[in-house]
Each structure stands twice: as C-alpha cells, then as structure tokens.
C-alpha cells in the first residue's frame, strides 16, 4: 500500500508542467517611432521603437547570409566554384556593417570566390566585390550620372566618398 507521501508524489508527477508563455516574452507588433508602455511584472517600462529598427534587423540578416558562406567548400556551385576565403567574407561583412546607406544591398557569391554586395533598382546599379586581399572593386551606374569604377579601393578606408554620394541617390 502506498503511503500518503507517495500518493502525493505520484499525483504531482502525473500533472504535466504548465508551460504558459509569460505575456512579456512574446513581442507585440510594433510601429517604428511610436511610444509603448508595458508592465513586465515587477516594473513598468516605457520605450519607443527606433527608426532603424527594421533596418538593423535586415542588415543583421544580410550579415548572417554572408557568414553562411563560411559553410561553403570548393565546388559549392556544382561548376567547380572556388570557396570564398574567410578574409573575403570578413571584409564584406565589416564593410556592410559600416554602411549607412538608406537602402541595403543584396549579397552574392561568384564562382571565383569573390564575395559581392550589389544594388539594382530604378535604373541604378552598383556592384562591389571582395577577394580578401585588403581591396575592393566596384562599378556603379545610374540615370543621368557618370559611371563610377575602381579596381583598387582599400577596405580599411571604407566606402569611397564619391561612391557614398552615388549611393545616396537610392531611396
């Protein structure tokens, strides 16, 4: 015969744990720039969503995508493509992190291991490439703008001033 303590133990064990998600754990829909007040139990907080909320999230997604290139080996494309070097990926990532353009680029990878960032919209086209040798190259063209190009821009110097001005046309 079971003792009272054993019956209590079995009864407790038979009840599944309650896994209610606390209300503060699920982020509510938010609107950039609006003020929010939330009671998180022990304290009341007031905050607003920064203007760059979605921009930062989108940029982080691009950074994740660049880091995903680390998983690729030679023949990643099935056509004998060369795997990108760690340095090329880091150069592109750091360059992307430092960008303050209104519009974020897309990422791409070429068969010769070049890691690329590019914009293509409304007649504007900008293609920037990194091989991990400390330099980046680019070509840019747009409506009524003189095309820009460079074969040897230094990654450590960041975005070329004239290219930065060019990219400011994108919105």
């Amino acid at each position: 015969m079971l003792t009272g303590t054993e019956i209590m133990f079995l009864a407790t064990a038979a009840v599944p744990f309650k896994t209610e998600v606390p209300s503060w754990a699920t982020p509510p829909p938010v609107t950039v720039g609006e003020q929010y007040n939330r009671d998180i139990g022990q304290q009341f907080v007031s905050y607003s969503i920064p203007e760059d909320y979605t921009y930062t999230i989108d940029k982080n997604k691009l950074i994740d995508k660049l880091y995903s290139y680390l998983d690729l080996g030679d023949d990643w494309d099935g056509y004998g493509g060369k795997a990108p070097s760690l340095k090329a990926i880091l150069e592109a990532t750091n360059f992307l992190k430092s960008l303050k353009t209104k519009v974020l680029p897309y990422t791409m990878l070429s068969g010769d291991g070049e890691v690329g960032l590019y914009w293509e919209q409304d007649g504007y086209f900008v293609d920037i490439g990194f091989y991990g040798d400390g330099e980046y190259s680019y070509y840019a063209e747009g409506p009524n703008l003189e095309p820009l190009s460079s074969d040897h821009s230094e990654v450590s110097m960041g975005l070329d001033a004239e290219l930065e001005e060019f990219l400011s046309n994108l919105s």
Binding site: G78, Y79, S110, D112, Y118, E120, D127, S137, Y138, D151
Partner: protein
C-alpha cells in the same frame, strides 16, 4: 575546356574572337550563328536573388574564366534542355548540395551578346560551339581577356551581358509550354 583555351584576339591581325569562325568541338553541329537563341538554366540558391526573383549579377561570373554554359535552342529540344537541368539538380543533390532547385531558364540572342562592345568598339564577349559528347548543343560565352583583367571592367560588362538575357527566369513548365 575553358576561356583561356580561346584567345579573344588574334595576335597578328588583331581580329576579335577569331575562334568563333571555326568549330571548336568535334561534337558540335557547327559554329554558333548570330540568329541562334542561347538558353541558360537557372538554379537556386546560387543564381537567384531570393527577394526579387531576378538573377544575381554573379550568375554570369563564370563568363570570365570557365565560360558561361548555355544550350543552343535550335540544335536541341526544350524537353532535352529541361531534362539536363533536372539531371544537374539530382547530381548536385547527390553530392551534398541538398538545397539546389531548378528555378527555370533565361534566354538571349547570340547576336545581342556579340554586339556588346567597349568604348573602342572592341568585342567584350565571344560565343563558341563547345559541344559535349552528351550534349552537342552546348555553347560557352567567354569574356575577352581585355575586359576580364580589370575587376571593375569585368563587373561593368557582366552587367551588360546580364541585360541581354531575360530578366526573370521562365519556370520549366512555362518554358516547355511557351513554344
């Protein structure tokens, strides 16, 4: 075979794309003529912008060294082109590229590719009849040495080449139905 096997300029006469004038493959039905349509299979995720559904510029990057592989539509059937692309997906998946999918096909006219020239009116791309034992309709487009030696120039003319192809791929079903 790669682009380096076909110098893009005759060192004596200075003529552009001299190897276009004679067949470069024993498996080829003949040189690629200007009026031919060239079809390129598009695979995800390697060729495609997942946001816009359009081709990445890098989908054309092989043009500077290995050669941009295309099928000559007038020397094969659409069914064969689709079957080859599906077989390529199966091969890639079998070798561990499990995310590989066939998105569809883009097309360009050979004359349009050959018409791309630089500021000095020199040809930027050559198109060769690189027929294979199991695909006589295979062709390759190669960027000239002059334009692939500079990184920015390579990007500029890669964009020109991309613009000659259809913007968004036709799905295999649409490609087969669109005669």
């Amino acid at each position: 075979m790669g682009c380096k096997d076909f110098p893009s300029k005759d060192s004596v006469t200075g003529q552009d794309c001299p190897h276009e004038l004679n067949s470069v493959s024993e498996h080829s039905p003949g040189i690629v003529t200007d009026d031919e349509d060239l079809v390129r299979a598009v695979f995800s995720p390697i060729h495609i912008n997942e946001v816009t559904g359009e081709l990445d510029p890098s989908a054309f990057s092989d043009v500077k060294d290995k050669g941009l592989s295309t099928d000559r539509e007038s020397h094969t059937t659409r069914e064969s082109i689709v079957n080859r692309a599906n077989n390529k997906v199966e091969e890639d998946k079998a070798s561990g590229k499990t995310d590989r999918e066939l998105v569809g096909f883009v097309k360009a006219c050979c004359a349009d590719i050959r018409s791309i020239v630089d500021e000095e009116n020199e040809r930027c791309f050559c198109v060769y009849d690189t027929g294979l034992a199991d695909n006589s309709a295979h062709s390759d487009t190669c960027q000239s040495e002059k334009h692939s030696s500079s990184r920015s120039s390579g990007k500029k003319f890669r964009k020109r080449l991309k613009d000659k192809f259809s913007i968004s791929p036709l799905s295999p079903e649409s490609y087969l139905a669109n005669t």
